[in-house]
Each structure stands twice: as structure tokens, then as C-alpha cells.
């Protein structure tokens, strides 16, 4: 009889413990706050099925993004080169890492990343997901110059992180994969869709005649013809997220996409950056060679350099470009600046 009671008790306890596991803690799902302009015009963002957005994952990712703990000497974080005030880039042509060594590429601004449908990140498309993108800078010797083994050890021994990882991922065993998953979750929340032009598109404000003329130049194939690579009012991303050689150089010191694919036809091609938030993201181009927007416009107007891989969308190359008048340039610049979104850089949810 006693044996029977013990047996039943053990079985009951086992069932109870199973039941506790089933009813156990789950991170809180948190869907992206998709702007109306996006849901009305473009397809849904890319959220990996193995890294759904959660309140706890985003909070952890944000803490990690701003935390110097990812760098070898504790002096830099992701945010050091991706500052909210600069639409998550910085204000130097290229960025210096923890040892004061500058890299060769301009830090890319970070926003609307979940709408990068081809999931190729970086100027050269090297990183094939946002999660994978976040792996590399930690160990890059001219960036955070750390190594993941040390970073994981520091995180694991930290008074807060093990619990934050448990809340985000139901385990307090920290890995680099979980670390970059959390960072990617935070980065996907960096959504910018409240520029003057966005509000114009929603019928909530009007553009000046100069901005409207700038839009016309942007869209006209016989003027700026910017829209084939940088989108249009029906594509609020203002980029095609594709790779082009936009005539910066006749010969290449940086092969860009060609380095990644190994295809010489891709040499000199770099990702089209979004034209949102240009007011905050100078200097421009993959190497930050242009300090001002005027220099960028002058490049397309008179400064094109021919090469074998220059995009066929580039026009009048023998004359250096599309030959805009000074007034056209000023109007185009006014329109481009209407795509900047001050509420994005001041959003308290995106600050340290």
C-alpha cells in the first residue's frame, strides 16, 4: 500500500512539474510599430522566425547597443559609431575603433532595417542578416577589437545580464548568437517615418514650391533621375536596397560588393543608402568623401567618373553627369532635406 502511495505521489509530482514547465515564463511578444505610410505602400518587414520581437529582447538589445562591455577595453559601444543624434551613424568620414585606428568605410545610419528585403547589410552586402551583421564589429581589430569568448564571459559574470538574457530568451546561458539576436531586435525598432515629406504624403502638411520643384527634379528622367535607385513617394524607404556603382571613381581602391561576390562585374558597387535623415548623416558615400549634400549633388551633376561597372542608369557620363542648374541643385537639396525626421533622432526610446 505504502509503495502504491509513493508511486502515485511521485507520478503526481512529475505531472505537476511538467505542468509548471508548460505554464512557464514566456517573453512578451512585441510587434513592430509599422507606420501607416509603410503598411499602405510596401510589403511587411522581415522578422526572422527564430528571433521574434519581444519586449524583453528589445530592452536587452538596447542595453547591449549602448554598453561599452562589448569592446575589449570597455571604451566603445555600438552607439559610439552609431549615435542616435546622427540617425545612428557618426559625423566623421570613417570611424575610429578602440585603438584610435580609422577604418575605410563610413558608418552606416541605422533605421528601417527590417524593410531591407534582400537582407544584405553593410555597404558591400557582406552580412546576410541583421543578426549576423552584429557579430563582426565586436571582433574587428579596428572597431571594438574584442573577442566573443571574452565578451560572453564578461556578460555572464555581470550582475544584471544573466537575468536579462533569461527574461529575453528563457536561458541565462549567454551566447554570442543570443547577444546579436537581442541587438537585432532593438535595431529593428529603429523606425523613421515622420519626416516633413511623410506628413505631406499623409496629407497633413504641404511642401514649399522649392521642395516640390526639387521632387520634380528628383523624379524626372531628364533631370536628376534619382528615383530609379532611391525610390519614390510610393516607396517610403527612399532606397532600392540594391548595389550600384554610382561613378565615384575611375579605378577602385575598395571593390565593395565585388569583394564579397568575387565577381568583377560587382567591383565598385555599394549599397544605395536611404535618403532619409540626410540632415543628420553627413559626411556621405561609403567612404564619407563628401562633407556636404551640395558636394553629393555636384557629383551627380558634374563629377561622374566612368568605369567598366558604372551603372547604366548614370547619365551623360561624358559630361560628368546630369548637368543641373544652380537653381535645380538648390531645389533638389530642399526636397532631400524634407526627408529628414527630427522626431527619429530625438525619440526617447532610442536614447541611452
Amino acid at each position: 500500500m505504502l509503495k502504491k502511495i509513493i508511486y502515485i505521489s511521485v507520478l503526481t509530482l512529475l505531472c505537476l512539474s511538467c505542468s509548471n514547465e508548460d505554464m512557464g515564463y514566456q517573453p512578451t511578444p512585441k510587434s513592430l510599430n509599422i507606420p501607416q505610410l509603410f503598411s499602405d505602400n510596401i510589403i511587411t518587414p522581415v522578422i526572422p522566425t527564430n528571433n521574434p520581437q519581444t519586449t524583453e529582447g528589445i530592452a536587452l538589445g538596447k542595453k547591449l547597443f549602448f554598453d561599452n562591455i562589448l569592446s575589449a577595453n570597455g571604451t566603445q559601444a555600438c552607439a559610439s559609431c552609431h549615435s542616435p543624434q546622427n540617425a545612428f551613424t557618426d559625423n566623421t568620414p570613417t570611424s575610429d575603433g578602440i585603438d584610435g585606428v580609422f577604418g575605410t568605410r563610413n558608418s552606416m545610419p541605422l533605421f528601417n532595417l527590417a524593410w531591407n528585403y534582400n537582407e544584405r547589410f553593410n555597404w558591400d552586402g557582406l552580412a546576410l542578416s541583421l543578426e549576423r551583421q552584429a557579430l563582426e564589429p565586436v571582433e574587428n581589430p579596428i572597431e571594438l577589437h574584442s573577442n566573443w569568448t571574452n565578451v560572453i564571459e564578461r556578460l555572464q559574470n555581470h550582475p544584471e545580464y544573466p537575468e536579462l538574457f533569461r527574461l529575453a530568451f528563457k536561458t541565462n546561458t549567454i551566447t554570442k548568437e543570443l547577444t546579436t539576436k537581442a541587438i537585432a531586435q532593438f535595431e529593428r525598432t529603429l523606425i523613421s517615418a515622420n519626416s516633413k515629406f511623410d506628413n505631406y504624403s499623409l496629407g497633413q502638411t504641404s511642401l514649399t514650391p522649392q521642395e516640390l520643384n526639387g521632387l520634380d527634379i528628383f523624379l524626372r528622367e531628364d533631370k536628376g533621375d534619382c528615383f530609379h535607385c532611391h525610390g519614390n513617394p510610393n516607396n517610403p524607404l527612399w532606397t532600392d536596397n540594391d548595389f550600384h556603382n554610382n561613378g565615384l571613381d575611375a579605378t577602385f581602391s575598395d571593390l565593395g560588393l565585388g569583394t564579397v561576390t568575387g565577381d568583377p562585374n560587382d567591383n565598385g558597387k555599394f549599397k544605395s543608402p536611404s535618403l532619409r535623415n540626410l540632415a543628420f548623416t553627413a559626411p556621405y558615400m561609403h567612404d564619407g568623401r563628401f562633407e556636404t549634400l551640395d558636394e553629393v549633388i555636384n557629383h551627380y551633376s558634374e563629377g561622374l567618373q566612368n568605369s567598366s561597372t558604372i551603372d547604366p542608369l548614370m547619365k551623360q557620363i561624358d559630361q560628368g553627369g546630369v548637368q543641373l542648374s544652380d537653381q535645380d541643385k538648390a531645389d533638389l537639396k530642399a526636397f532631400l532635406l524634407s526627408l529628414s525626421d527630427p522626431s527619429f533622432i530625438n525619440n526617447p526610446e532610442f536614447q541611452d
Binding site: R220, E221, D225, P233, D240, P312
Partner: protein, 255 residues
């Protein structure tokens, strides 16, 4: 009476079989359209892109760097002129080898059909808001009538100065008076008739595009004259429309 029983069962069985046979005569058929591309018979895929290797009818050497186009409104017209129209569209992206095969969700009964589709989008469809085409930045600016490109075909050619030069053979709805109130001289989408196809089972229909035809007939295309900024050029758009009539043909049919 007892003797009748087996006959009754047999009769019922035969009737049932007969019904099945009727069903089999009109099964719902799945159609798949496969898009292939050639230059006067030589197969073209994205692996052939970027090299100046094709000669057009006007004698210009050229390369293909980007090619994507929309087909829509696939129609099946039976012998008694009953038409099944599939209100669908497909962006064929040769550059990235996307959507080279397209299977509409709607199935059709077996039968003999004249099969056709629209190159581009008719004016009604072209005024819709397609989220996937917007995401591909395939739009045409509003001052040029809005809507979408029918085709984006970019490449380079050797011009009369023996220099490589870009061309953008972009087909859209022909437009005059660009601006707030553009006008439309004529429609430039067109119907491609693939002829009569006997459809008996799930079927794969190959649609071939001879890219060289865009430069050939009836308008001998001179890339030295017509190379870029062709979207606001309604005469060039109408020439593309005319040359497009002979671009597509029926390839292999497998069922």
C-alpha cells in the same frame, strides 16, 4: 428477386464509375508559366549579363545589365469563346532570377484554349497600388502618369564614338505633357497571344522572350539616337510597343 441483387449492385457501381470518369474529363488544371529569354535563339540568363556580346539589328554591340518586366491578366479562351481571365500579375526579374516561373492560384478545367496575357499592366491595373511592386521601386512618377514600369531593361552599348555608353530601355504607358495633367497618346501595354493549347493535365507553358526583337521590327532601333531618358519620350514608347509585338512566343508545353 434475389438474382436481381448482384445486377443492381453492378449497375450502381457502373454509374459511380461513370460519374468518376465525367469528373476526370473536367479536372481542375494547374497552370505554370515559365519565362525564358534568348537573343535570336541563344539562351540568355543573368549569367550572360554585363558582357558586351550581343549585336542588335542596327549593328550595335551591347550588354544586358538589368532586365525585369511585368506580365498580367492571363486569359484562357475556349473554342466557344468562353473566357477565363486570371486577374494576376508577375514581375519577372531576370537579373535576380526571381519569378521566372509563375503558377497562378486559380485552376482551370481541361480543354482547348487560346492562351494570352498582357505585357505590362492595362490602364485599370496600372492605376492600382501594388505593395510588392512599390517595394521593388518599379513605379513611374506621377508626372509621367504614375503606375508602374512595364519593363526595365538596362545595359551598355558601343556608341558611334567607340565608347561604352548606358542605355535604359524602359517601357511604360506612353505619356505626353508631363506634369500635373499628363495626356496619353495611345496605350502601350499589349496582348501576347500564345495560340491554341490543348490542356489536359497540370501544365507548364514556356513563354520565350527574344530580347533582340525589341530592337528589330518594325522599328530598327538606333541606340545612338534612343538610349536614355526614354520614359518621357512618347514616340519612343510607341516604338517599343510596336517592336514588342514580336518579342514573345510560345515555347515548350509540358503536361
Amino acid at each position: 428477386m434475389k438474382n436481381l441483387f448482384p445486377f443492381l449492385i453492378l449497375a450502381v457501381s457502373l454509374m459511380t464509375c461513370s460519374e468518376d470518369n465525367d469528373d476526370n474529363l473536367n479536372p481542375e488544371i494547374s497552370t505554370t508559366f515559365t519565362f525564358t529569354h534568348n537573343w535570336d535563339g541563344a539562351i540568355v540568363s543573368n549569367t550572360n549579363f554585363n558582357a558586351i556580346q550581343y549585336t542588335n539589328a542596327n549593328g550595335e554591340l551591347l550588354s544586358i545589365e538589368r532586365l525585369r518586366y511585368v506580365i498580367s491578366d492571363i486569359k484562357f479562351t475556349s473554342n466557344n469563346n468562353e473566357m477565363t481571365e486570371l486577374d494576376v500579375y508577375n514581375l519577372v526579374d531576370v537579373t535576380n532570377a526571381n519569378n521566372l516561373s509563375f503558377t497562378p492560384e486559380t485552376t482551370i478545367p481541361a480543354g482547348s484554349y487560346t492562351v494570352s496575357f498582357t505585357f505590362g499592366l492595362d490602364n485599370e491595373d496600372n492605376s492600382e497600388n501594388y505593395l510588392d511592386l512599390n517595394s521593388e521601386s518599379f513605379n513611374v512618377p506621377d508626372m509621367l502618369g504614375g503606375g508602374y514600369h512595364y519593363m526595365q531593361f538596362d545595359g551598355k552599348f558601343i556608341n558611334s564614338s567607340a565608347t561604352e555608353q548606358g542605355f535604359n530601355y524602359h517601357a511604360i504607358r506612353a505619356t505626353d505633357n508631363p506634369g500635373m495633367n499628363p495626356t496619353f497618346p495611345q496605350d502601350t501595354f499589349f496582348t501576347v497571344n500564345l495560340g491554341i493549347i490543348e490542356i489536359t493535365n497540370d501544365i507548364n507553358i514556356e513563354i520565350e522572350m527574344n530580347i533582340a526583337e525589341w530592337f528589330k521590327n518594325p522599328n530598327l532601333w538606333d541606340l545612338n539616337v534612343l538610349n536614355q531618358m526614354l520614359m518621357p519620350n512618347s514616340l519612343a514608347q510607341i516604338m517599343m510597343y510596336e517592336n514588342g509585338q514580336n518579342v514573345f512566343s510560345l515555347g515548350d508545353v509540358i503536361q
